[in-house]
Symmetry: C2
């Protein structure tokens, strides 16, 4: 049913501070695609990319040059900078992966083509309004079970495909500290839609999305250098995207594909980055769970701007950081619209969003 | 962590119209437990049970004798009659299984002890308020992922464990007709909580629950003989249970364990039973999705009685059947309370419910 799209429909976005030797293992799956490499940290450092890959590399100087003062919305010294790559892409689909993620094997020992599975996920509808107990009904060998309303079987367009990780699981620092030896060895052979109204912790390590459907909401926030928080970039994007997808009638899937996550990051460093987030998320998550977007917010941009205002009003009380983040959200949308001039269809939306 | 409870904590409920040869295969897993066999159809027929099993068998005469006029709430000529077994049990846990379900094998070829997995599911908390991308965080080798709020990590008590089926999937008649050869061969090695606010199609073929927590809501409705609908008994119970679990802060899990479902039922017969349900569910499901139970409904019985009133008021407009069903729901609660006299703790609840 689903086919891997042609080269001109997908970009692979990789944030990094080092040589991209990990690409060797991905060569059979990635070589036909264009890579957008977002170099974090010192821009004078040279990042080596293995021969044969088609890529553009952007360092901090490039980001500053392209965005001017609006570059302030792109994080520095944090992999949150990857969202710059989403903005400069001109493709319909984005796949983003961390540079410590390798090709995983399925239970039969075969290499998993993560990209192909993500595209399958994105090309099949989602089913957010009712749970299907045999999981993704559009997968070969599965269907809607008895009792699934027929009116809901068309599903909705899938905006996000969230993949998982074998070996090192994506744990927070406290869990890493408590369970230093835990490895994820369970291959769960499924994809499912996260139901409407339910939030989830979106990890940016192995993630694909439809830029046309949800791109402007894939902002990874202000993290790293000069900010009181790190490792919440993908979480932030996940909360925002889920609320907007629910509002606009789009779907988010999670499950397959797996990648092999090779190395646990340092839990002590992580704790330092995370501790504010661990505290703040107890208020942020109820904020997103209770958020209502107005009927007038009919596009991703409009939703995002409305959301930014609510962040300012309601989360600004927690810490001045959220006022800054709210401003950055608006700046992000302005920058997005500048780099992605509206088509006739989206004129109104963009005008509203960039005010 | 979880251990299989002793014999005196669980009953196995089996509705049937034939000799229970299928029990031979389950002998190593079931023999230590008490069986409650609910004989459907002609009460003069003798049902043979293999030697060595400890059981009580109830036929229609027994049901009429035990419940008197209230026996009208128990379906006849439909496996919905199984819920009589839930009512006469005195145990904390119920496992119910169809007599065409056999022991399935896991991918390593090992026989699956379905009962043991159900008990594990019921003894571990559920997490209905936020989605965990590595599925059940209480399973060995898994945990809560980064970004999961710490305040929600205790979870809530699990009331229902919904197991799945290899081989013949639980499809409706139209899907059976369209895909007569489809078999479920995918072993998905996971258990997950169905999020709060999300309904699901609960199948009664392979189901376990905590009678103390949710028993009075496990009513399988009026189906079969004299009724305009069949094959919606478990669906009805599932919708009611999910709304009540959400209201009372209880969890429902689905996924493992698998059983091997040996034989597809006749799709033409099924279509005749189902067609009203297929039509009606398009209104029933939104009814349950939008249902609000009052703060005063603090017990399962109170919730169920309140629900019955709403069924009368709102679904009665669809068809007079729902007025009859609403009455039967009240009768069911009265019968439940008669057979299960309230303890001191539940006095108030039961008094309110049986009015």
């Amino acid at each position: 049913m689903a086919t891997v799209p042609l080269k001109d429909e997908l970009d692979i976005v990789i944030p990094t501070i080092r040589n991209l030797d990990f690409l060797e293992m991905w060569r059979p799956f990635f070589e036909q695609y264009h890579l957008i490499i977002v170099q974090d940290g010192d821009p004078s450092k040279t990042i080596k990319v293995p021969d044969g890959f088609d890529y553009d590399l952007y360092n901090r100087n490039d980001i500053n040059k392209i965005l001017g003062p609006r570059a302030s919305c792109i994080s520095f010294k944090d992999s949150a900078c990857r969202c710059f790559g989403y903005m400069v892409s001109k493709k319909k689909y984005i796949f983003t992966i961390d540079d410590d993620c390798f090709v995983a094997k399925d239970p039969s020992g075969k290499d998993i083509n993560a990209l192909e599975q993500h595209i399958k996920n994105l090309l099949c509808p989602s089913t957010p309004y009712f749970f299907n107990t045999l999981y993704d009904p559009f997968r070969d060998g599965a269907d809607f079970v008895r009792g699934y309303p027929f009116s809901l079987r068309e599903g909705v367009s899938t905006a996000v495909s969230h993949g998982l990780w074998l070996n090192i699981p994506d744990y927070d620092a406290p869990t890493q500290l408590v369970k230093p030896l835990e490895r994820n060895t369970r291959y769960v052979d499924t994809v499912l839609t996260i139901p409407k109204g339910t939030l989830f912790p979106m990890c940016g390590m192995n993630l694909a999305f439809d830029r046309d459907l949800i791109g402007p909401a894939m902002y990874f926030g202000l993290m790293g250098d000069g900010q009181p928080i790190g490792r919440y970039d993908d979480m932030w994007a996940g909360w925002c995207c889920k609320v907007i997808c629910d509002h606009l009638g789009l779907g988010i899937k999670t499950g397959l594909p797996y990648i092999y996550h090779s190395k646990a990051s340092n839990p002590f460093v992580n704790l330092k980055k995370e501790y504010n987030g661990i505290f703040w998320q107890e208020e942020i998550i109820p904020f997103f769970q209770q958020m209502n977007l107005s009927k007038e917010s009919t596009t991703v941009q409009k939703c995002y701007v409305e959301m930014a205002k609510q962040v300012n009003e309601k989360l600004g009380k927690i810490d001045p950081y959220f006022v800054k983040l709210s401003d950055a959200m608006i700046t992000w949308i302005e920058a997005w619209d500048e780099l992605n001039p509206p088509t006739k269809d989206s004129d109104k939306a963009t005008n509203a969003a960039s005010k």
